[in-house]
Amino acid sequence: MRILVILRRVLDPAGLVAHARLRRLFINREEYLIEPGDHAALEAALRIKDGGGAEVVVVSGQPEPDDDTLRRGLAMGADRAIYLSGAGFADADDGVAAEVLKATVERLGGADLVLVGMTRLDTGQAQLGPRLAGALGWPQIVGAWSVEIADGRIRAVRRDGDDYVIVETDLPAVVTVPAKALEPRYPDGARLINVYRGEGGMAEAVLQWDVADLMDPEGLVPLLEGRGRDFPPERERGVRVEGSIEEAAQAVAEALRGRRPG
């Protein structure tokens, strides 16, 4: 059984300061994390591998020097890593990425399961997994809190409003995993060292593919474009609420509306 896990990297928010008054973004410390949802997805894949008989392939398309994301994936226990490089892919939006990943699956000779994080930490977009499912023509499970394979089918626990339900579909399928679903394991120490030194078979485990070999560069035109940055208004502290208790409560309720995470 072959499981493909997509690993994206995101800038560590602890190194960022968004200065509301100066309306500028300061990157004090440029460090990258594996996208937490993807990290959980990799853990899900490795747990299936623990059960026996699965090959886990991680794929990433981040610009140099960060084949680090892939190395971390290998150190955790992935069998192979595919580094997608080439002009145009580094800035790809999810629409383009989905097409490239579809071509990657085909070039790999197919896969039984694709796992990826549900919602990106940085942009909050959750569209990559479903877009890829659409491109591949495979069923999708969005937001799987746990994943199990049996008899060519996949079972997952998914939220349904305030409850959790078990869903099932046939493989191959695309499954997206919330960041908090699983605690990713620590990398194996010796494997980590070997990955960085290219020893113990780890050098052969990394493949580098040029996106231009996978598909026509025409197809790499992004659908979205950035039109600038916006900053939340500067915090105004000490705003006193006037009026009766009921009016005060209304004002608070109003202020809380939209601040409460869904």
């Binding site: 620590y186 990398p187 194996d188 120490g189 010796a190 980590l192 060292i193 960085y196 113990g200």
Partner: protein
């Protein structure tokens, strides 16, 4: 000269930091309060392979060298001196002795399970009459056929209460003394005649086991002689050298943490209308400590690099331990002062760091001994021999 950490080192640090923040930080206060060893954490560390960080992969280790080991100790020292001490005694002296002078068979038999964290190690040198004067030990090992019979005892043995394997040193020929009359042995704690007599109730590092061991006709097979008969001190000094460097790394972590906590508090706490950070007296304390921490960092990692590249390093390792322990003590003292009353409260980690730091100037060779080692090497280059 390239002073940057390699990508491998950075990746290792990231992994260790993630582990320490998730597994060690939450229990640090608890193990101090309850005076217990974090065995669960030690086992988890073992599973990641970190308890064999500097040992070769063919013996179950990670092969990350001394730089890797210093990174582990620094990151542990930042959060929990007790855990760092458990780990340091296990890797840096207990298992290390087998790494430096063990036979192939001894390494496969003992080092590998220790590197994999399947077993734990301790280092048995100190006795009640032999602290700094290590040569004054009196534990006796007498040859009997193909075994040695050991009688005596050791005190202040870190990890002694739970170690599976202890590398210990005993007198095998009283007439020869330290040169030729002392032998190192690998013993297993479940052998008859090996007893853990009592645990020390300590000021700090209360998350460690500091035990008194008693040997009562403990029979050790001859194949467990470590190194050559009569040359036990050579083996032990080699192990201690390595241990000193990494203790310096743990002190670096502790000093850095004290600095970070102090800076954070200085930013937060306001008195007389401004933050503490705006007051020169505080700024100077911070600046002085930051300078010392940088100097210590450069020293520790340079010496680690020298070890990894096969260069001599004995007096430099002693400097790491000497300077590291003193910087750490100054750091925690400053941290208590900056935090004021909060620094004295048991509800806040600063007072624990203060109690924990003090031992570093004493164990693994007191700072007085370190000074003698350093001075001795310096003068020897000029043809002068110093006797302690």
């Amino acid at each position: 000269m390239d002073f940057t950490f390699s990508r491998e080192a950075k990746a290792l640090r990231r992994m260790v930091r993630a582990f320490v923040e998730k597994e060690v930080a939450p229990i640090a206060a608890e193990i101090d309060r309850e005076h217990r060893v974090p065995l669960g954490v030690m086992r988890k560390l073992g599973k990641t392979g970190l308890l064999g960080v500097c040992f070769p992969q063919e013996y179950g280790g990670m092969g990350a060298g001394e730089v890797g080991y210093c990174i582990l100790m620094e990151e542990l020292g930042r959060v929990c001196t007790s855990t760092a001490t458990n780990v340091g005694a296990h890797i840096g002296i207990g298992a290390m002795a087998i790494h430096v002078d063990g036979t192939e068979e001894q390494k496969l038999r003992y080092l590998a399970p220790l590197a994999r964290g399947e077993q734990f190690a301790a280092f048995g040198l100190t006795e009640s009459n032999a602290g700094s004067d290590a040569a004054n030990i009196s534990t006796r090992a007498v040859r009997d056929g193909d075994e040695w019979v050991v009688n005596g005892g050791k005190v202040y043995i870190t990890n002694g209460g739970y170690a599976d394997v202890v590398t210990l040193i005993a007198v095998t020929d009283p007439a020869l003394g330290a040169r030729g009359g002392v032998t190192a042995f690998i013993v297993e704690s479940d052998w008859p005649g090996f007893e853990v007599a009592r645990e020390e109730d300590k000021m700090g590092i209360r998350g460690t086991s500091t035990a008194e061991l008693v040997f009562d006709d403990l029979r050790v097979p001859h194949e467990n002689v470590l190194g050559k008969v009569g040359e036990g001190f050579v083996t032990f000094m080699k192990a201690l050298d390595m241990g000193r460097l990494t203790l310096g790394a743990a002190c670096l972590g502790g000093a850095q943490a004290a600095l970070d906590w102090s800076v954070a508090w200085a930013r937060t706490r306001e008195q007389f209308g401004t933050q503490l950070a705006q007051k020169q007296s505080i700024q100077w304390m911070i600046a002085d400590l930051a300078t010392e921490v940088e100097a210590l960092r450069s020293l520790v990692y340079r010496v680690a690099w020298m070890v990894d590249t096969g260069q001599p390093f004995t007096e430099l390792a002693a400097m790491c331990k000497l300077y590291g322990s003193e910087v750490a003590s100054r750091a925690v003292d400053m941290a208590v002062q900056i935090h004021g009353g909060l620094g004295y409260s048991r509800d806040y980690p600063i007072e624990r760091a203060f109690r924990d730091a003090r031992i570093a100037e004493i164990f693994e060779g007191t700072n007085e001994i370190q000074r003698i080692v350093i001075a001795s090497r310096i003068f020897r280059e000029h043809g002068v021999r110093i006797s302690p």
